[in-house]
Structures are given as C-alpha cells and as structure tokens.
Assembly symmetry: D3
Homo-oligomer: 301 residues x 6
Amino acid sequence: MKRITFALVAVIVLIAPVLIHAQLFSLTREQMVEWTSQNPFDRFPDGRPKVPDALIERARGLSSEEVFAILPGKGFRNQYEDGFHVLHPDKKLVGRAFTVQFMPLRPDLESVINDKAKAAGQGRMYNQVPMDMLQPGDVLVVDLFGQKEGGTIVGDNLFYYLMKGAHAAGLVVDGAVRDLDGISGMEMPAYFRSVHPSYLTNVIITGINVPIHIGNATVMPGDLVLGDSEGVYFIPPALVQQVVDNADVVHIHDEWTRKKFDEGKYKSRDIYGSPSDPALKKEYEEYLKKRLEEIRKTNPK
Amino acid sequence: MKRITFALVAVIVLIAPVLIHAQLFSLTREQMVEWTSQNPFDRFPDGRPKVPDALIERARGLSSEEVFAILPGKGFRNQYEDGFHVLHPDKKLVGRAFTVQFMPLRPDLESVINDKAKAAGQGRMYNQVPMDMLQPGDVLVVDLFGQKEGGTIVGDNLFYYLMKGAHAAGLVVDGAVRDLDGISGMEMPAYFRSVHPSYLTNVIITGINVPIHIGNATVMPGDLVLGDSEGVYFIPPALVQQVVDNADVVHIHDEWTRKKFDEGKYKSRDIYGSPSDPALKKEYEEYLKKRLEEIRKTNPK
Amino acid sequence: MKRITFALVAVIVLIAPVLIHAQLFSLTREQMVEWTSQNPFDRFPDGRPKVPDALIERARGLSSEEVFAILPGKGFRNQYEDGFHVLHPDKKLVGRAFTVQFMPLRPDLESVINDKAKAAGQGRMYNQVPMDMLQPGDVLVVDLFGQKEGGTIVGDNLFYYLMKGAHAAGLVVDGAVRDLDGISGMEMPAYFRSVHPSYLTNVIITGINVPIHIGNATVMPGDLVLGDSEGVYFIPPALVQQVVDNADVVHIHDEWTRKKFDEGKYKSRDIYGSPSDPALKKEYEEYLKKRLEEIRKTNPK
Amino acid sequence: MKRITFALVAVIVLIAPVLIHAQLFSLTREQMVEWTSQNPFDRFPDGRPKVPDALIERARGLSSEEVFAILPGKGFRNQYEDGFHVLHPDKKLVGRAFTVQFMPLRPDLESVINDKAKAAGQGRMYNQVPMDMLQPGDVLVVDLFGQKEGGTIVGDNLFYYLMKGAHAAGLVVDGAVRDLDGISGMEMPAYFRSVHPSYLTNVIITGINVPIHIGNATVMPGDLVLGDSEGVYFIPPALVQQVVDNADVVHIHDEWTRKKFDEGKYKSRDIYGSPSDPALKKEYEEYLKKRLEEIRKTNPK
Amino acid sequence: MKRITFALVAVIVLIAPVLIHAQLFSLTREQMVEWTSQNPFDRFPDGRPKVPDALIERARGLSSEEVFAILPGKGFRNQYEDGFHVLHPDKKLVGRAFTVQFMPLRPDLESVINDKAKAAGQGRMYNQVPMDMLQPGDVLVVDLFGQKEGGTIVGDNLFYYLMKGAHAAGLVVDGAVRDLDGISGMEMPAYFRSVHPSYLTNVIITGINVPIHIGNATVMPGDLVLGDSEGVYFIPPALVQQVVDNADVVHIHDEWTRKKFDEGKYKSRDIYGSPSDPALKKEYEEYLKKRLEEIRKTNPK
Amino acid sequence: MKRITFALVAVIVLIAPVLIHAQLFSLTREQMVEWTSQNPFDRFPDGRPKVPDALIERARGLSSEEVFAILPGKGFRNQYEDGFHVLHPDKKLVGRAFTVQFMPLRPDLESVINDKAKAAGQGRMYNQVPMDMLQPGDVLVVDLFGQKEGGTIVGDNLFYYLMKGAHAAGLVVDGAVRDLDGISGMEMPAYFRSVHPSYLTNVIITGINVPIHIGNATVMPGDLVLGDSEGVYFIPPALVQQVVDNADVVHIHDEWTRKKFDEGKYKSRDIYGSPSDPALKKEYEEYLKKRLEEIRKTNPK
C-alpha cells in the first residue's frame, strides 16, 4: 500500500497544478501531445494539434464524399455525423476542433467543479468559459447529449461573440441554439440538432478539449472539422494532407467525366467509374496529369 | 374601416345569438368574459379579448426568446409549441387567436352537431363556418390532433380567402394543409404539421373559440399569437404589455453588447450577460437609459 | 328554461349541484341526453347512457375483431386505439366510459377553474374530483394528451381506490401512471401510454364527462369500453347489442371452422371464409342454427 | 429527333436480346403488354407504355391535389408517396417511370445474377446498367428499401449523366444520394429519402422495369410520374387524360373563386366549394365554359 | 428487330406455360434450381431447397449468436432481422422459408393478376392461395411492407389452419396479424410487426416463392428460418451444416467456461474468450475433444 | 469473507498502480475523494464511496417513486432513466455503481490507449478489463451511447461471470447485450436498450469509474443504483439514508390508506393524500408512529 500512496502523490505533483487551472477533465499539454501523438503538424501552446492555415484553405473545396474516399479505408469509420439543422447549407464549415463535454446537472458534481473553478480564479464554470478560450479558426464542438429545452449553447449575442470576438470558424453542437431569427442573419456556419427559446440550463461542463462524441463520431481536439450541406466530418490531422491531395484527383476526374458526358455519345459505363476503352483511358490519364500539374502550381503543398 | 365595423355589428346581430345555441362548446359572451377575466383590454362583441392594434404592431419586433424571458417566470410554462412546417420563416406571425377544436368523426356526434347547426340556419358544421366568423387580424388556431391524411384545414382557395377575404393574420394548425405549391406563393404566415393532397375528411368540429391545446401549449381565444422561424407562442393578453416593454430592453442590450464585441478587445465574460467592470456597467446603464427614451418616443404606449 | 332549472336542482340533490357551477365544460343532464340521443338504454341521473349489466357481461367474450366486424360498416371508423402499455393482457376490460379531459396548465385558466370549484365547495379541481364521481362499473377514460413526466393520473393508492373504493371496471389514459410495481399486483385492467415516477403536475382538468379523444378515437361518456390484449374499443351504446349478437355467430363460425381443420382433409379455401362446397355450406348453416339456439338459451337478451 | 430515334433502334439491337436472359425479373415485351394492358397509348419497343409528349407537357401544370381529385375515386388509393427530401421544391417533376428494384445483398444471389449478366455480355449487374437503358423523358424510380448508408443510387457524376447523357426527366429513390452540394447545382428534379457520403454498396438489383413499391405507392413501368413540392404521384397511363382535363376545370374554378374573393364582399361559403346563389352559380358556369374554350384552343388534345 | 421478336417468342415458349399456373412472379422449377444453385440438399417438386429434417432438428438448439458466428464471415451480412412482436419468446422457430410478396393494391394490376389466376383455375389471388400451397415444416415468410391497418396476414382461424391444417412450422410477417388473444393460445411460433383488428385489405400478392426482403434481410425460398427471443435468421441452405456443427463447439465452450467460473478462483480474462494459461488451454482442448465425440455420437451427421 | 478481503488487497497491489498510468480518464484515489466529497460513508481502496451493506438491504424495498419523493426536491432532477429492456421486471436491482464509458472507435485513440495498457502489463483495453475490477455488490453501469449492433457489452458467458465470478449485483447499459435466450435464464437483474447477435466491436473504452451519463441521468462511481420494473435511479450516497427513512413513512401511509379504502365508506379525498377529518388525521398519525417504531426495531440504522 505504501508504494501505491507514493505513486498517487507523484501523479498529483505532475498533474494537479494543471488541473487547478483547467477543468474537471482537461488534458495537460503533455497528455494532449500523448493522446494526439500521430499529429504531423505544429501545436497550440496547450498541445492541441494545429492543422496549418494553408491546408485549411485547401480543405474549403472538400465535400463529405471526398473525405469518405479516404477515412473508412484507413479504419476511421466513425468520423461523420449528420442529422443537423444546417444554418447555411451553401457555406462550408472548415476549422480546428475545440471540444466541450456537458452532462446533465447534478448539484454535488456542480459544487465540486465550481469550487475548483473559483479556486483557479475562473468564477463559476459555464458555457462562456470555453468560449473565451477559443483561438481564431476554431470550431466549437459541443456534446450536449442531444438536449433541446435547456440545451441551447448560444443565442444571438454569444453567436455574435464567437464570430466577431473569438474569430471562430463555426459551431457544431449535439444540442440546441436559441434566437434562430437572429443568428440566421450572421454568416458563421453552424450545425445544431434543434432550436428552443429557453436558456442553457440543467447541465454542467464535464470536460474541455477532451475526446468527445457527437452522435456516432468521436472527436479529438485539433481535428479538422469539415461541414457541408449534408453533415460534418471530423478529420484526424494525420489524414488531412492525403484527403486534400486525393480530392484534387477527384475534382479532375469529375471535370473530365462531365466533359465526356457533354459530348453526348457515351453510355455511363463507357466513361464512369473509369473508361473501359484503352484510348479513352489514356486520354483521361493525360488529362489528369496535365490538370494536376496546373493545380499543384496554384496549390503548392 | 367604418364600413367594416358596421358590417361586423350586422353580422353579430345575425349570427351571435344563434351561435350560443348552435355550437357544441362555444362560450356565451358572459362565459368568455369569465374565462378570460384577466384580460386588461377591450373585447370583441362575443367577449373575446382584443389586444390593441398598437401592441400588435410593437409585437412584430418580438422573438420567441423575448416572450420566453417573461412567461415561464410568471408560471406560464406551456405557451410555446414548435415542430411546425413554417411556410414563411422570414415573416413574423402576429395576431389574435381564434380557436377551433376538431375530433375524429363519429356519426352519432356529427348528426347532433349538424342538427343544431341546421336548426340555427347554419347548414352543416364544417371548416368554413369558423372561417366566416373571423375578424380582421385574427389568427386561425386549429386543433386537428396532428392529423395528416384527411386533416387538411385549407387548400389554396380557402387560404386565399383567409388572407384576402377575412383579412386574417395567419394560420396555426396541429394538422395539415393541401396545395403547398399554391399557398407558398401567398404572403400570409402559416404553421402546420404536414401537407397532404387529400380533402379535410373524417373529422368534426367540437368547439369554436374554446380553450384548446396545440401540442403542449394551451391556447385561449384572444391570446396574442406570435410566430417566428422557430415556433409559435400564445401570449395571454394580460402579459403582452410586459413582454413588449421588456423586449425593448433586450433589443438595447443586444445593440450595446455587439457594439462592444465589435471593438474586439473583450472576452465574452467582460460584457455578457452583464458587464463585470463597474465602468462598463455604468456605460451600459447610461446607454440603456438613453436608448429607451428614444424608443419610447417612437413607441408610445 | 324553468323545467331545466328544476331538473338541475333535482340533480344537485343527488350529485352535481356543485358540478354545474364548478366544471369548465361539464354537460347538464339535458345536454348529455341531447348529445347521446341515440342511446337505447337507461341513463344515470346525470344523463349518461347506462349500458345494461347483462350486455356488459356478454361483452366480456368480445375481441377487438368482433367489434371491428360491425363498427366501420356503420360509419364508426374512429373508435379503436392501441399503442398502450396493457397492464394485464390476459384480462378483458369491460365497462362504461367516464371521461376526463386535461390540458397543459396555464395559471389564468387554473385560477378561474379553482375559483369556480371553491365557490361550489369543492376545494380545488384536481384528479381526485372526477374519481370521487365514478359509478361502479365505470371505466375512467382520461385524455392527458400523451404526457409522460407529470402526466401520471394515478399511483398505487389511487389505483387501489378506483378498484376497491369506487368499484371501477378499469382505467384508460392517454398519459401515464406511477408505481408500476405496486399496480401490477392489483387485478383491475388498465391501459396507459407510459410510466413515470413523477407526480401529476403541470396540467389542469378542462372537462368532465364531455366528448374527448384518446389518440384517434372519439369517446363519449357512456360508451361501452372494451379492452383486450391489442387495444381498446369505445362502442356507442346504440351498437352494443348488434356487436354482441354478431359475436355469437363469429364464435360459432370459429368453432366449426377449426373442427373441420382438425379433420385434416381440407385446404383452407375449402372451409374458410365460407365453405365452397354446397354440402359443407349446408352442414355449417345447420351447425350455426343449432349452436345459436343453444347460446341464446344461455344468453337471453 | 430523327437521330434519337435511330439511336434507340441501335440500342435495341445491341441490348434488348441480351436483357431477356440477363435480368432476374425483367418482363418480356409480351409480359409488359399484358401487365399494363389498360394503357391507351403507344409503347416503347420493350412494351413499356409511352404517355405522349403532349400530355406530359400539359401535366407540368398539375399539382398533387389535382391528381388526388381523380385517382382515389377510381380505386387508385396507393399512388402517392411523400416524406422525400425534394431537391428543387420549385420545379415540377414530370416523366415516364423506369423502375428498378434492389434488395439487401446476399452473395449466393449476387453470384447467380452476375453469372447471368456476364453470360449476356453485360459484365456485372449494378446501378449503371439500368441507367444506360433509360429513354429520354424517363424518371428513374428506385426501390432501395429506404437504405441510407450504402443506399446511395447516384453521386454528382451519375446525376449529371442522367440529366445530360440520358436526358432523364428526374429521379425518385426510396433510398439515398451522395454529393448533395454537387447535385444541388444541377437542374434535374430529384426526390430521395436521405443523403450519405458512402458509395452504393451491400445491395443487389433484383428487378428492372417490374412493379415496385415506393413506400405505400405501387409503381408500374410507364406510369406518369408527377412530383411537386409535397410529394410524388405515380399516375397509371389510362387515367392521365382524365387527370389533366379535370385540372383545367380546377384551374378555372380557382381563378374565378379568387376573383370573387378579391371583390371583398363575400363570405367563403357564398363562393366556395360552389356558389350558393343561383345568379353566382350561373356566372361561374358561364365563366367556366368561356375559359375552357380558350384553354382547349391552346391545349388541343 | 426480327431477331428480337424471335427471341421473345422463344422465351414465351419456355416460360409462359409455367406462368399460367403460377403467379405473377413465381419461378419455374428450372429457375428455382438456378437461383438456388448452391443448395447442397434435395429439393421439393417445385425446385425449392429442402433442408433435411435431421438438420432442422439439430437447428432447434441454435441461437441467433451461433448463426452470427458463421454468416457474416462468409459475406452474408443481411440475413438477420429483429423488431418483431415475438408471439412465444420461449419457443424456437425452425423451418423452411416459403415466401410471399405483397404490394399496395392498384386495381389495374389486381385485375391482371386475378384474370391469370382465374384462367389457371385458382379463383382470385389472395392470402389463402399461398397458404394452401405450404408443405409441412414450412415457415410462411411474408413481405407486407410493414403495413399495420389492413396488413393482417392472418387471424386466429387461418393461424389455426397454418398450424393444424398445413402443419406449418411458423410465421414471419413484415406486417400484422389480428386476433391476438386467439392466437396467443396456440403453440405455433410467430413473428409480426404489429396487431390490428382490421381485415387484410388494400394489398395484392405480387410474388410467391420469389426472393423477398423482410426489413434488411433478403430471404430466398428454402432458407432455413431460425427465430429465437431476439429475432429471426434466414440461413442459406449451403451454410446450415457448418452453422450447426460450429454450434456444438460453442455449446461445449460455454459449458467449460461456466464450469471454470463456478470454481470461483478466476478472473474473466483467465478463462474467456480462450484460456491464457497453457495448462488451462490444454484442459479446455481435451474437454472439447471428449465432449464433441460424445455429442457426435448422439448427433450423427 | 476473510479470503475475499485478502484477495482484494492482493488485487490492489497488482492492479491499482498500473491503472493510474493505464486508463485514459480514471481518477486517482485523491481525485475520487474530491469529486465525491459529499459521501458520508466508507470508501473502497480506490476512493469510491461504499454505501453500507445494511442500507443496501433496506433499499431493496424502494420503488422509483420513493426515490423521486426526495431527489428532485434536493435539486437532483437528472438521476432517473427509463426506456430499458428490463430483464427481470419482478426483481429489484440494488447495488453500487461501477461506471465505464465507451466512445465510437477511432484507430489513433485506440492505439494510444492500448499502448498505455500494454506498458502497464494489461494487454489491450477492452470490456473484460473493467469487469475484472468489479467488487462484490457492484452494478456495472456502461455508457455505450445507445449502440445496438456492435454495442453488446456481454453475452451469456460474461453475464454468467458477472453474476457468479464477480458477484456483481447487476448490469445497466445504454447499449445492448447478446444471447438473450441464455441470460434470460440467469437471475441477475439487467437493464439494456436492445439485443443484437453481434459481438462488441467498433468501440473503445475512454473512462473507468468516471462520471458518465446514461441517457439523461448523470452517474457517479459509488452511486446507489436502484432498478425496478419502470427504470433505474442513481442515488447519490449522501441522500441514501434520507430516501430509505422516508420510504418507511410512505409504506406505512400506503398501508393505512388502503386499510381505510377497504372499509368502503370513504371517497378518495376523505383519506388521500392526507385525511381531511381531524379525527382521521389523528388516527393516521398514531398509526404512523406505532408502525414506525415497529419497523425501526427491525431495521435499525
């Protein structure tokens, strides 16, 4: 038993100071680096992977299908979720995941969390605490376990703050928002399950920048979040480069395919998925090579 | 307007006495006054509360959230309902509730109701009877118990009548409509559960201007109906003034909050819900006072 | 009007003096008689149809299918509802409908109702008021608009009272009950949508012994309620005799059909729906006649 | 048009003999003629009814309600289905049904089907085979038993092919599509249950141009498909003429009704359904006659 | 075109005579043999695979999990369906699939089908036609596309016939039954979606002993149907032997695992899935070998 | 018991130090004590609250309603969850919560977790790891985010181990089980969402003995779990004593109430909720006092 007690003390020395400043289940920089060790990019000071801005720009051209073309084949079958109310179906959501986990309120747990937050000079723990921690380009990804009434992470004022004050890239919440009329007029992309006039209530934050799940997708802090009119993909940083590179090929394939269909003399199977006729195949391959070179000039890695 | 008022009186002379004996569960003027005794405003000849036109105009600026800010705190927790197909999400619905209750048809009950209607010179009882009783500015609020097939309260002709003939402010139905293509081109706001090509059938009217419930909201004749892109609020007349007055404060608070966020130097908690810094707090209070005065000049009670 | 007033006074002496002034939408005896004018049987003092005990006894042998065999053909297509948690699937529910209508609570309406109830010496209006008005053999049929949390019409104590104190025949509620472990041990049949540990709350009674609907079935006070393991039928008194008489024929047809199938030499189409072979047809008709005579001796009208 | 006709003949020479041996449950021309024997129009070479182009043009003015006005009365109560994601709610879908039936994949069945397809020189059986059989003006109607993940009949490339290569009139699928962003920019009407980024997988084709059901509607090859913002009607060829003729009357009735409501002096019952006043009735009948004549000049049968 | 016509004629000669006696989409013996070519067992006269009685007996010991242990690994991932009302959760359903496909009624199709049926001396086509074709030990598997009202394949009389007259092994219907009280007292296993008092109506039979799907499971005539308290598996004949053989091993593994847990000295991971300790592993392997020999003596292939 | 205590200590020596490094979000003893600081009872070596055996015994008499009588009033409104398949509705579930959190699998996270587990000598992290950590009397409470296929926490072998090897009190899983036929024959209470024949797959453990939520209830390690035929309550240790004490009063009140109803001379309002008549009230109070004394003798605190 002695040895155990000793080990516990050691752990406290290493972790506890961090926890005092952080939340119930926030990771230290070291833990964050460990849990996201496959990240090939730089990191934020708190250890969160920072997908480069250039890749984020290229990712604006992605669709869910182009992510699907890579992820399941790499074993990542739980990174997509749909069933959202999409605020602006014609705007892509692209940014880095900042995760928050809520659970139904219980007063004993709330009291511990608020005591810790107060001790760390944070006042009480509530939805604005993580909002004030966001970095420009972040997407606030919130597990509110599907709550509607009382599960409204923002209204139009905090939505405005996310967009203008925090320079956030967007919002994904497995829960609700309020002030739909108000936020509909704002440009930031947002994905939510429902809308309700109530305030956020009867819930507590149990984790900031920890792994969470949004429906059947597991989200890690620093994931590249991609939302289109269908749903949202959470792309592990290690796969972002491959996804955007492959999408270039897909785009060229689409171009060529439609050009051929426009000629009006082919059945679908002559051209698509890949041309059956060797001459056509060669034509396609040359087109692909030429266009890739053009694109790569514009889009240097 | 004179002629309309005159016409209304004439109609009352002809119809109202009859209705007392004719409808299954219609209220007499005395009953209506009793059941809506907290109404602070004038009434229609049949006793229904008449929220003043000036307040109705001011209510066009309301959102569901601004009603929520007052009603639950006064014990009114069952006045909001959503889950509607909103015909024009960008148009507010504002008007006075005229309620109709349907139940699934049973021939024995239908025969009694029609006998009474005939005896009162009304022909048979069906959906056009209450429509022809509407006053300008009314919202037809119909409990069709969620029926889809056969639960279509109007098609495009009667929708057109409501809008152009009856000068109704809108329609809320816990049931369906037909002719979606047709009514989509008309401006009147409407909230319905579903759309179906069938006629209204297999149902009977069991009450006109009685208390009804639309989902989990209880509606009284004369309630102020407010619909936005989220859902519909049924506001008791006695609370309308307080709701619109408080909304003025909310609007100013929104203005100031966003102005500060635009300055780009604040965290959300510095400014919202209320400013933590005493100087900011004072700034806000002065802003609020000044703007309220401006608004009150434009919007005299 | 004089006679009506007089009749009311008489009723008051027996039961309702209070109720006439107290309930929102309770019917007078005259109204009840009018709305149920096709009732061929005696009535309770309040005018509610009283299907005779002998017919109720015969109705215990009915199944939903035997009611279906008659009602839709008479135009009654909205008298059946299912989707209930059936407390005792092996016990038939048979009795006379006593209806109660609830709506979501709104304080202004509640205050009017309670003022009226108090003025009539009833204290406040709540679920025990109609329970204390039940007659032996009644089925309490309650429209709680599907409410689960807060929509619990009874727990085990009031369930016990219904069974032992009020001699009720059963309970049908478009809402919930509480104390499932407790009521499961009691013999009275009950049909409910759900179970929740909460108390009945956030609702008000808006009608006692008025027409209500339970899902897609319209129920009138005095209907014969028949529940089996599938669902519940609400049979208008005027059709009860025909339903039970026809069921005798169905039972005999079932007997004969199975007897023939037991012989093992027939295809289904030889025997069922009706025998194709003239000899078999004659055999069946003689069997039917003989058995009907036997049954009618045991079951005199 | 000449060239198209020529192309069709060529296709028949190449494909049709093969299909007889290739498809699991495709009908021969004789069978097709037999199963659609009430068709009053010409047929495609494979026997499929060919509603004339002129009627298809007139059908563009139809709404679901105008089809409903005729079909149930003729006993066709299962020809309408809704619950779709409607790609372009403001565009009518009108065309001839080409049906495809899928079932969940089972390898033993797939192996038989592919063996047959290979033996007939078709390669394997998959979604592009029926697409390459479409005739201009066809609507591809696909029973994918509501499948979402893996039930994506087309992405944007094949959608483009349907529109530009096959000159299809549209798509109805009891299943999914992919590439929503991509297809949203294309003009062809489409009705689908859901959207998913996955490929079409884990399913097999079990019938081409056989009777199928899309939800509760039974579809025959050659049916006139009509989609509006509500849902989709599958109209048997034998009823098309009557539907469009009756719609002319409905349109005129609508015109007249609204014109009268615009006059502002009528209650709804004075005018609609039909005028109660004999003078008004006569006015309407004359209007109808005159307008019908005008329309019939423009729209010769 | 000549060649096409010729081909069509040839097909007619081969298929048509059969169709006259069969149904819309019933298979000839040759087609049945072709579509079930992997069947290793004898066949019924109509070509349907006949899993031997001895294997059926052994299959009574199977659970869904023991089928799952084999089928997905062989690529059969769509053979299981649940979500049924299980009539007798404590009785296994085991038998050979006899499939019937229904679609929503359309009068033109019904008229063709009935003409054909009459021409073949069958009278009209309805639910009793396939019932009279059943072989002892068959399970009637019916695609009624989830229909409840009007989708009642049997009531208690036909259920009795299936059990006593047709010696059927059971019933699986993606639809409803009626007379629940009646059939609950009969021993035959049955799986259905819902119960309703209505008659079977508004549907037509479009296939007998053709491939159908029950939810997400594709069923072929002759499949071994296995139902337990969870759901129903449709096992291709070619895999039945392997499934029952493997289940013997599973049963022995269960015996041994629990025997070890009863000893009370092991953690779960010491024993299950397979023992980590070499001595335990050897003990298990010897136990398995011994017990398999004992079982194989009792259960010779 | 000696041997068990000894075994526990041994296990701690072997496992506990490891866990600190091994689990993703497991709490140290100090953290556990902090997060459950309101616990009034002893603790397990890992800090988890240990509600005393005597209180657990008394809790067997509780129903959900008796917990509801206390918890919401103390601000604990999110401790109840229903919607489970209840394995044995006639057996109470009572024990101490041992919590496990799963998320959808992602390979990068899985690889980190397994590396840590291996480094700590635990092999890979999977469902049997927490099962082998259970203490006698524990209830395994598992957040499997509602997963059905692949979300099967146990089959019959591990269920048997929980019951016989780990002496667990029961199982609550927001997910599935397999082998329903097998586990139905075992006595341990279990609550699950669904049943599926698949193995547990496509998920990872992300926390052991951390706060989790089961639907809308937040569960802390060490909560007293109470399951009856309705649902499951998770009771904070600090409130257990009050709940069971109050339940004694409720039981006596039930006894007395029914005794009075049995006398047959009271309306429900005379007796229930509390007697209106002062004499009856006194009678009740004396009965309560006497019975409480009797009970307290048998059930000393």
